[in-house]
Amino acid sequence: MKKLAMILLVLFVAAGFIFAGGSKEKGPIKIGVAGPQSGDLASYGIPTAKAAQIVVDDVNKAGGVLGRKIELIVEDDVCKPEVATNIASKLVGDGVVGVIGHICSGATKAALGTYNESKIPVISPSATNPALTQSGEYPNFFRTIASDDAQARTEVDFALDKLGLTKIAVLHDKGDYGKGLAEFAKKFLEADSRATVVLFEGITPGAVDYSAVINKIKNSGAQAVIFGGYHPEASKIVSQMKKRKMDVVFISDDGVKDDTFIKVAGKYAEGVYASGPKDTSGNPAAQAAIKEYEDKFGDKPGPFYLNAVAATEALINAIKVAGSTDYDAVTKALRSSFVETPLGKIKFDKRGDALGVGFAMYHVENGKYVELK
């Protein structure tokens, strides 16, 4: 009797699998959303989950994709690599056809191997670590945010192509962000024969003044300073250089592309260049996406919201274009067909970085940052 029950049970379970397998093509298309939903960094992950929900609700309301509804599976990786690998296995087990996430670069890197083995495309709205796309290890990885080095690339290209500078001093504030950027800038400048790096220095944030470093810049004969760091130090350096009547171009990053910089540095801010994410606020799709969020949740969307909307739209569009959820077809579609998103018209290059998403240079003119086309 016991044996019979056992056999029946096994048959029942097996039948369940077969049944489930059979219904896979008919049931909803499952998309995973992975990122921190709790913990210190939850505020980076929650907007992405909400963005995916908004896009998917709209698609489902319009009848879904390929005649099927889309179902979201939201998982919490707390931005921890060890949790992220578990989440990845779970999502693979759940049979997702694509993943929006993860949010933190470290967690994303840990999870990517699992997805890659199972041939699942992953689109992150926020993981900026350059190696994720540049290493070539993860052909299944895409992102709708520019990588960390893209900003340094933008600054260096601007300094060399537009301003035609030949002697450049690179400074940073010794922090992860500033130093990382400065090191990329230095690497790009050294690889280019048109310019030389005459000075590479770290400064101490919050120091009483920077006159010694400024003397050093002057002594090095630099035509321009590329600074990696934030606005408090930048405004001190800029105003002290101007007070010393030094005619040195100042180029910095989105840590400086902040209105506080202009407020604090005042008239000395005029003429400063800073890179920052391209302005998408004029894009009607972005305005619509933000309004939809505000109507639905009653507050302002958090960080990476538009990037996440773009990621979800890109994935769903790719499935639509591919006509199936097959990995090769979907990734090919991601790389080849443009899609209209809040970030503009995007598709992905062969490494997985979004084309058309990136940084622009801004220039302080009459107390305002103006985007340089």
Partner: protein, 302 residues
């Protein structure tokens, strides 16, 4: 060797040293009198700078001469900082005068945090621009590349403050009382010196010089926030220890030495290690002269 570069670094280090000196004076005088390291002293400097900012923003609307505004702002900054300094002494240190020295030290750290957060909440956590009130002096044009007007004002003001302070301590009655209290507070009291008055005056002078430092450095860097007192305070404290805490010439010497060490270290080696040079120098001095460059050797009486 490039001479003009050397002079730029020399003057830059001296400017920085002047600011340290104005703050370090407060540390060293208070330590000399009541053997307390007043960790909230950096905050007094910050409050001086904030007062000057508020006053000059208000007066800025009247279209007065910038130098006049700067003078009024400095006087009010000195007044406010001194008021904060003495009040702090009355609230946080006086009740603990007979308590173990560690209690007063903890009270000082608490005061420092309190004042920082007070300004953070009452004013703003953001950086604020400090108006440019020191004009470009005509007579500095020829050496403008080496020394600008603000640096010149800092150097001159510091020199004047030092001279006035020396006169006060050497030749006035209260100066004599301060020296006596610093030597032996109990004995001074027995001889009829009003210790409380001496301590109050010490806090007033220390706070006043710190306020001057705050106004000058804010004019130099053009910005301030509630946190500027912390790092400046730590550096000035290091300068005071370097020169020999308790000794007024020592604090000034220590400040200049620290300013030059940082400036030359940055200029000739690397600014990455600016703080490292300062502290290596401190360690070396303390190994060979544990009580600082001009510090008196303290013999414990048996």
């Amino acid at each position: 060797m490039d001479h003009s570069y050397f002079f730029e670094l020399f003057l830059g280090g001296m400017t920085r040293g002047s600011i340290y000196a104005l703050i370090a004076l407060g540390y060293t005088m208070v330590y000399g009198i009541i053997k307390l390291i007043n960790f909230a002293h950096g905050e007094i400097y910050m409050i001086g700078a904030f007062t000057a900012l508020i006053v000059s923003s208000v007066l800025g609307f009247t279209g007065m001469n910038p130098i006049l505004i700067l003078a009024i702002a400095s006087v009010l900054a000195i007044f406010f900082s001194s008021a904060y300094g003495t009040t702090m002494e009355k609230i946080a240190y006086k009740p603990l005068r007979e308590a173990p020295r560690l209690s007063a030290l903890i009270s000082a750290i608490g005061m420092s945090m309190f004042l920082q957060n007070y300004v953070l909440l009452a004013q703003t956590p953001d950086f604020l621009p400090f108006p440019d009130m020191i004009p470009d002096f005509k007579f500095l044009q020829p050496i403008n590349k080496i020394l600008n007007s603000t640096q010149f004002v800092i150097l001159v003001t510091t020199a004047i403050v030092m001279i006035l302070l020396t006169i006060l301590i050497k030749f006035t009655k209260i100066g004599k009382a301060m020296r006596a209290t610093s030597q032996d507070a109990k004995m001074a009291q027995l001889l009829g010196i009003n210790i409380n008055k001496v301590i109050t005056v010490t806090f007033i002078i220390g706070s006043a010089t710190a306020a001057i430092g705050g106004v000058l450095i804010s004019s130099h860097t053009g910005q301030l926030n509630y946190y500027i007192g912390f790092i400046a305070g730590i550096k000035a404290f290091v300068a005071a220890v370097l020169g020999g805490i308790g000794s007024i010439p020592g604090a000034v010497l220590g400040s200049f030495v620290l300013g030059w060490t940082e400036s030359f270290g940055t200029g000739y080696i690397s600014s990455d290690y600016e703080d490292v040079f300062a502290f290596i120098f401190l360690i070396i001095i303390l190994i060979f002269r544990p009580s600082g460059i001009l510090g008196r050797k303290q013999n414990d009486k048996v």
